[in-house]
Amino acid sequence: MTYVVTDNCRGCRYTECVTVCPVECFHVDDTMTYIDPENCIDCGGCAPACPVGAIEPDYRLAADKKFWIDVNRKRATETPVISARLPPLPGADERKVALGR
């Protein structure tokens, strides 16, 4: 198994997950983070750390979110590792409220 970043991250990108990842398996682009499934050790630390509930273990994803498994795997190979927190994207806090978080 692995953990997977899903759509709630898009436009927020709080990157709290990056701070608590023990193996630096997060990658990042302009819109969100991705988990490298080859490096993730399933510790589960990131899921509760995410302010918008964007991270789930792969087996727990709803059917319409399963495609994020492949998105994470692919984008992790195309984007750089992120090893320290970044400021959230502009509008992240408003989006978080809109998501009911």
Binding site: T19, V20, C21, P22, V23, E24, I41, D42, C43, G44, G45, C46, A47, P48, A49, G53, E56, P57, R60, S83, G100
Partner: protein, 436 residues
């Protein structure tokens, strides 16, 4: 042009929080060195001695620790017990900052009569034993009983129950200590009760740990129907996927199949009142939420109701929280900060969170250290002078290359047995391996 004066930081303990604090310090770009002191000749703390042998993926985090150990300015000083071989004050005289990363090694007692009877153990002792910790390798666990009770509903309680529920064949290819595998192979335990005070929604274990009980080869898992009502499995927070999954697993366990020779039974709403027996554990008396009493027969009990940090001489202790007294990572008496003394990980905030939680925690402590370094006055002693004096006091100071030799020897031993490693479980054996 000379750069700013180089600072020296000592980290006490080589578990996750110690390594992540070291990483954050060394990545800061500040001119500093980190000396990591460890009591044993082997690093990784609870990753080696706490994480269950059948959770090998989690142990891969050790490769991250090895990367940190390879950073310029890092030094491992193993085989040295702070508080015994050298004092905290000696360290404070030689280092600009001393960071305690000593974890939470003491098990909290149940505080009920009969706890000292033979057959009554802490989960912490059992875990350290099956993981081959040198201070626990000589413990004896008599598994010649039908029933065992694990008291507590956290992840450690589930580890203990799962190890007891597994057969030797399910554990043989893990890095479990050989002495433990031999005893577990002869286990007569067929019923394991996992008992907690609260209901299903209050259980602290995670869904991920609970899922392991779906995979047991020779044990069925059930929930005792007397303890629960259907409402107990309805999540109060339907938008919390972790809670929803946990309750749905427990609901599934409440309609059990009983076809396998071993049974693991989850009990809810029961508080232990006394452990009873003539000369050894025979029953445990519980009080139910409904105030009714219930005795459960068992030959063995493992209490898993929390841990606390062991006090270190020269460091104020917060007895209420069970950690080194601190304000956000700075050691303090009340609100008065003690200069140059810090704390991280479980010995800062108590035993909670995952391995990665300690990364965030270590980063925060490192930020406090870095913020204070500029104002530190020069120390009267130096690390190298201190280490030279220390060499006369200890058998052997173990370096990281020494550990790498021990590591390689353990892996070679393991390969012969089809295991990832066969741990050395005594300090002399560890020391002998690094010279082999």
């Amino acid at each position: 042009m000379t750069g700013p004066a180089q600072h020296h930081v000592a980290v006490i303990g080589s578990g996750p929080s110690g390594f992540y604090t070291a990483e954050a310090l060394l990545r800061s770009g500040a001119p500093l060195t980190v000396d990591m002191f460890e009591r044993l000749p082997v690093p990784y703390g609870l990753v080696r001695f706490g994480v269950a042998p059948d959770h090998p993926k989690l142990k891969q985090v050790a490769t991250a620790f090895d990367r940190i150990a390879a950073m310029p300015g890092f030094r491992f000083i193993g085989g040295v017990t702070v508080g015994d071989d050298l004092t905290v004050d000696e360290l404070r005289n030689a280092y600009d900052a001393v960071v305690l990363a000593t974890g939470a090694e003491l098990s909290r007692p149940l505080g009920i009569p009969g706890e000292a009877l033979p057959g009554s153990h802490t989960a912490g002792d059992f875990v350290a034993w099956y993981n081959g910790h040198p201070a626990f390798a000589d413990l004896r666990f008599d598994l010649d009983h039908e029933a065992a009770i694990v008291i507590g509903h956290g992840n450690v309680a589930l580890d203990v129950a799962r190890i007891l529920a597994k057969t030797a064949d399910e554990l043989r290819q893990t890095d479990i200590a050989r002495h433990a595998l031999e005893i577990l192979a002869e286990s007569r335990i067929r019923r394991i009760y996992v008992v907690g005070r609260g209901g299903p929604a209050q259980a602290k274990f995670t869904a991920k740990e609970l899922r392991d009980f779906l995979e047991l080869g020779e044990a069925d898992t059930s929930v005792d129907g007397r303890d629960v009502t259907p409402d107990d499995f309805e999540p109060q927070r339907p938008d919390d996927p972790e809670l929803v999954e946990k309750l749905s697993l427990l609901r599934a366990f409440s309609q059990p199949a009983t076809t396998k020779p071993r049974r693991c039974v989850f009990r809810f709403g029961l508080s232990p009142v006394a452990i009873k027996g003539r000369g050894r554990v025979e029953t445990i008396s519980f009080r139910h939420r409904s105030e009714t009493a219930e005795d459960i027969a068992c030959g063995l009990v493992f209490s898993s109701v929390g841990r606390k940090t062991a006090p270190v001489a020269g460091v104020p202790y917060d007895a209420h929280r069970g950690v080194h007294a601190n304000v956000d990572g700075r050691v303090a008496i009340g609100r008065t900060v003690i200069d140059g003394l810090y704390v991280c990980g479980w010995s800062k905030r108590g035993p909670n969170g995952t391995i990665g939680t300690n990364r965030g925690c270590g980063i925060a402590t490192a930020e406090a250290v870095l913020a204070d370094l500029a104002d530190r006055r020069p120390r009267p002693d130096t690390p190298d002078a201190l280490l030279a004096r220390l060499a006369g006091r200890v058998t052997r100071i173990v370096s990281y290359p020494d550990w790498t030799a021990i590591d390689a020897a353990e892996k070679r031993r393991g390969a012969l047995l089809g295991k990832p490693r066969e741990k050395f479980v005594t300090i002399p054996d560890m020391l002998a391996a690094m010279d082999a």
